[in-house]
């Protein structure tokens, strides 16, 4: 109540109780008044016990509500944090358990390799793949034979956007499994005690020897990055026709063509026999299925070149044009003739090009 205060000031009546104005009292307690006015009101409080009590009561109410609101907000924040992840205090890494588990795993694997229960190196074995290297969990489909006669029909058999997304999801799932395995391996390696890691050290030395001996791999590694692609099954037009009405089929084909124009990048592809793989990559190849294509992506004159290492390359050592499409944020599909190979690369084409640029600068 501004008028009461004005009366007080103007008429010089110190006993007019401004605290009876609930709005003014509220503004006073909530510090919403300027300093000059506040001082005037405080001057009256010095001589008025009733007004002091009124201010105190209002303070209890307002501060009480503030604290209730604050507590409620803290409780909601805790709920959100608990829903998202463990709180700071509870987020303790059980290193003892991890170390113990790692020691047991490495000891068993090491003994297995030492006693030749588990073949290591050139012999193909399911267990070796699980223990030593990440391995694709499943194949997407059988590799189609590269058939030049079918190349002309490639446009007809372009997949729909929906099928691309599905393929991207499948690729992502595969890579997630690999990433999880790699992460586990990293943790195990970090946690491994030196005594139990003797067998692993032996393997490491063997791999290093192979790596050092192979200059081609060094050269390739300096030029590009290794990735694993998955052959995507060709989708026949007949299948598509059966799956959807004619109008929808036409629409999806148009959409696929438009998408290709908008989102594709020209790249070159070179096919090489798997025998040309560097030794460590050959070891890896033995643990991969036939549908997984080891690929070196390298930069040539500012363009990307995909070197596909295959069992039976169709056009050995000859570079030919291909298209590269990005599906979602983390999947790339390369189309060569009527064959399509998918790659899961976080960040897609941009990440790939940035990596390449960084390597080139180096």
């Amino acid at each position: 109540m501004g008028s009461l205060l004005e009366n007080n000031t103007m008429t010089n009546q110190p006993n007019i109780h401004w605290t009876r104005d609930t709005e003014l009292l509220e503004q006073f307690v909530m510090h919403r008044l300027d300093d000059a006015r506040r001082k005037e009101l405080e001057a009256h409080l010095l001589t008025c016990e009733g007004c002091q009590r009124a201010v105190k009561d209002e303070q209890v109410l307002v501060l009480g509500m503030k604290r209730v609101g604050r507590d409620a907000m803290k409780a909601r924040l805790r709920e959100r944090l608990a829903a998202g992840q463990a709180p700071l205090a509870a987020r303790k890494i059980p290193w003892m358990q991890i170390t113990s588990a790692a020691a047991v795993v490495i000891l068993v694997v090491g003994l297995g390799i030492y006693n030749k229960w588990i073949p290591f190196g050139t012999e193909k074995d399911e267990f070796a793949g699980d223990a030593a290297q990440p391995q694709p969990v499943e194949t997407l489909a059988k590799a189609p034979e590269v058939n030049q006669e079918k190349a002309g029909k490639a446009e007809e058999s372009k997949p729909t956007e929906e099928s691309r997304s599905r393929e991207a999801d499948q690729l992502r799932d595969r890579t997630d499994d690999k990433a999880a395995q790699l992460e586990l391996e990293r943790r195990v390696a970090e946690a491994a005690p030196s005594a139990a890691g003797a067998a692993a050290k032996k393997d490491e030395v063997a791999v290093n020897e192979l790596t050092d001996a192979d200059t081609r791999e060094k050269k390739l590694a300096a030029q590009g990055v290794w990735v694993e692609g998955v052959v995507i099954p060709e989708q026949s037009t007949d299948d598509l026709k059966r799956a959807m009405p004619q109008t929808q089929l036409l629409q999806s084909q148009q959409a696929a063509r438009l998408m290709q124009k908008a989102n594709t990048t020209a790249v070159t592809v070179t096919e090489m026999p798997v025998e040309e793989l560097p030794p460590t990559q050959q070891m890896r190849q033995q643990r991969l299925d036939n549908q997984t294509v080891q690929t070196m992506i390298e930069q040539q004159d500012g363009n990307l070149n995909f070197v596909l290492f295959r069992q039976a390359p169709q056009q050995k050592l000859k570079s030919h044009a291909a298209t590269l499409e990005q599906v979602g944020n983390d999947s790339l599909i390369i189309t060569v003739g009527n064959e399509r190979i998918g790659y899961n690369i976080q960040g897609g084409l941009d990440a790939l090009q940035q990596t390449k640029q960084a390597k080139t600068k180096k």
């Binding site: 109410l61 604050r70 507590d71």
Partner: protein
Amino acid sequence: MSPSFSLIQSDQRLVEQLQAGNEQALVALYQANRKPIAAFVTRNNGTPDDAEDMLQEALVILWERVRSGKFELTAQLSTFLYATVRNLWHRRLSRMKREIPSEVDPERVEDDRASALDELIDDEQTRMVRTALNKLGEPCRTLLLLFYWEELSTEQIATQMGFANADTVKSKKYQCKKALEKILRG
């Protein structure tokens, strides 16, 4: 050293989220600041639990300031949170009468010790207000909290709670407050 432009930009976006009432922004701030805060509190006789509590309290203070329009982004949000936690932790230490570490200003602690009894009284009063608010029910509870705690304007409350206009909020707030006082008087 002045904060980098990109940090200020991302802080600005977070402040906008807080202004809009997005509580998830607090979670992002918690994640970004938990490590330095934990380091500070544990370095000063605290536990990880203390650190968590302090950071949550500082985040709630930030929320209040932003929501009430009293916050101005002049430094990084992490700087604000760190300074707030430091003050809160000094106060807490003095109440718990733990050894005062070197990072704490002794004069400040002495001042704060005087308020320990007030704190107990405040706790009791807060409990009474909480009980009264719960008895009051909705929409009064929310309306009063938005006005007195978050210090939103009557126009903002009208928009948020779907009242016709600011005058309706004023009138409703008056009724609610009277009802609350009645409950408190018993």
